[in-house]
Amino acid sequence: MSATTQTPVPGIAPSLLGREDYAIISALVPNGAKVLDVGCGEGELLHWLTENKGVEGRGIELESGKVHKAISKGLSVYQGDINAGLTAYPDGAFDVVVLSQTLQETQHPREVMAEMLRIGRKVVVTFPNFAHWSVRISLLLHGKAPTTKFLPYSWYNSPNIRVLSIADFEDLIAEENWHIENRIFLAGHRRVTRWPNLLADVAICLVTKR
């Protein structure tokens, strides 16, 4: 489907619901696809995809208050943690599984990736790049755990228990013999094409099994 390979305008990335990564995710999701949003929050993205791309959306979210809001929007969201949440679905249940800004918060990222690739034909993962130059400089100059726009937490209250860079993620993909079908990098509102591991603060990868 053309939507999976379409490239947004170079330079400034378009935004969706105020977020550039959402715009890119939505471009990677084909119309009418069956989509699972893992860690869907209140379901903003899922709701948009349902209304605008006719997807059949499902979500997983841990926080009761967010699930309650998502279901009130008419979304089929399941309250549970990611690990227990994924195992119940049969193989190939979804066309696309989305994990947005959550990989770095998971206890077992490799198992989560494997489970998502089991139940979905394609997996869209977005994560903050811990090797962004600002992070490197902050660590080098101040010798402290960095805080940035995408990593706004202090070391003691951060949900980000997995510290990974784009290069680290690519290593995992290679080790597991998975395949990145499409990769898009962002620095704030701009797309990054060169030296992403240094210049990008967010990565969006479309991963499949080989």
Partner: protein, 381 residues
């Protein structure tokens, strides 16, 4: 809203046990307007000791319906948009045929000769009622506790007739603890000499036994927190010197009161039959589960954090069964201190969730009616 109970008489009805009852009166109430093609109908299922009077003020006794917080204009089950039907279950004692009804063959109450009844029987009788009322498909079936069991049975018995299913604070099967509490209730009734093998109609009913059964039941409907808040260790104040309830804890007085109130509106033999129906229900062992395969029914399950009678893990069992078969299911565990009773009394969040879910089911239905197949159906082809 003043409501009126109506009765449809089904000429004859065969139960799972093989016995045929005839005739079979079914009591029901209806709220809101049914539209021309009867596509806005929601069936509400009552819990164990409930009845057809789910909403509004009854013209018979002036009492408020058991789910009045949820059913009415602008409420979760919005009677400005939907037509809500609730019927008294088979083996009940509030207008639908049950052990207290007169057996036309003998001219005497059925009592313990009433045939063993299942949740499946209750649901099939409701289907007969809906056929009689000209309702082909239900926009939703919803209910809490035993009502939720009936919802699940509807979804697996008649998947084509159920657009959405909303079981709340419920289970697919009783565990040992739930059966145990029911057995305590049954034994309380049967060990009351007035029970007399179930043959007490026209004599003294087993008031003490039934009241004790209700008291036990009531404890399971509350939570440690809600009881602590409501009663604590407070003593009831002496109303008079002769007050036999004096010097008792408030919780004791409350339970005695609820027990003695209950015997005025409920039949002890119905208690026995219906608790047995609940105990024997097992969704997971049901042959009807196979019917779900082609089902498009949307599910919404709700459980409550402090509900220890129907704990969340039992809702999750159902949710995971449905997810493993790729059904469309939403699930949320809502916070409440009210225990199992939460689905009846703590309804603010429940209202929002059910309201939004139903609106979405209704939108899809309208879209389907206006535009033919949905995106999902096209993709399937």
């Amino acid at each position: 809203m003043i409501t009126h109970s109506q009765t449809v008489v089904i000429p004859s009805f065969r139960l799972d046990c093989g016995v045929t009852l005839s005739p079979v009166p079914v009591a029901y109430e209806m709220y809101g307007e049914m539209n021309d093609n009867a596509s806005n109908v929601i069936l509400v299922e009552h819990a164990f000791t409930g009845d057809a009077h789910a909403a509004g003020i009854s013209d018979a006794d002036g009492k408020l319906g058991w789910w009045d917080r949820m059913i009415g204009p602008g409420k979760a089950f919005d009677t400005n948009r939907y037509c809500v039907i609730c019927s008294n279950v088979l083996a009940g004692c509030r207008g639908t045929v049950g052990p207290a009804s007169i057996n036309p063959e003998t001219g005497r109450p059925y009592a313990m000769s009433f045939p063993a009844t299942t949740i499946g029987d209750m649901v099939r009788l409701q289907k007969e009622l809906l056929d009689a009322l000209g309702v082909e498909r239900l926009l939703a079936v919803s209910g809490g506790s035993m009502g939720g069991m009936q919802v699940l049975e509807w979804a697996v018995s008649y998947p084509d007739r159920v657009l959405s299913a909303i079981p709340i604070a419920s289970t697919g099967r009783h565990g040992a603890q739930q059966i145990a509490f029911n057995e305590v209730g049954r034994q309380a009734i049967m060990s009351d000499p007035d029970w007399n093998g179930g043959d007490y109609y026209g004599k003294n009913p087993p008031r003490r036994g039934l009241a004790v059964a209700r008291m036990v039941g009531h404890i399971t409907y509350m939570s440690d927190e809600s009881m602590r808040e409501k009663f604590g260790r407070r003593l009831r104040e002496k109303a008079s010197l002769e007050d036999e309830d004096s010097d008792v804890f408030e919780v004791e007085s409350y339970l005695r009161h609820r027990g003695s109130q209950f015997v005025n509106r409920f039949d002890a033999n119905s208690y026995l039959y219906i608790t047995k129906a609940m105990d024997y229900y097992d969704l997971f062992a049901s042959e009807n589960l196979a019917n779900l395969k082609e089902s498009d029914t949307r599910f919404l399950l709700i459980s409550y954090t402090s509900d220890w009678l129907y704990p969340s893990y039992q809702s999750l069992e159902i949710v995971n069964l449905l997810r493993s078969r790729n059904h469309d299911v939403a699930y949320v565990e809502l916070n409440s201190n009210y225990g199992h009773d939460a689905f009846l009394v703590d309804v603010a969040q429940q209202t929002e969730v059910v309201h939004g879910f139903l609106a979405s089911v209704n939108r899809n239905r309208e879209a389907r009616a206006n535009r033919g197949p949905t995106v999902k159906e096209k993709v399937r082809r």
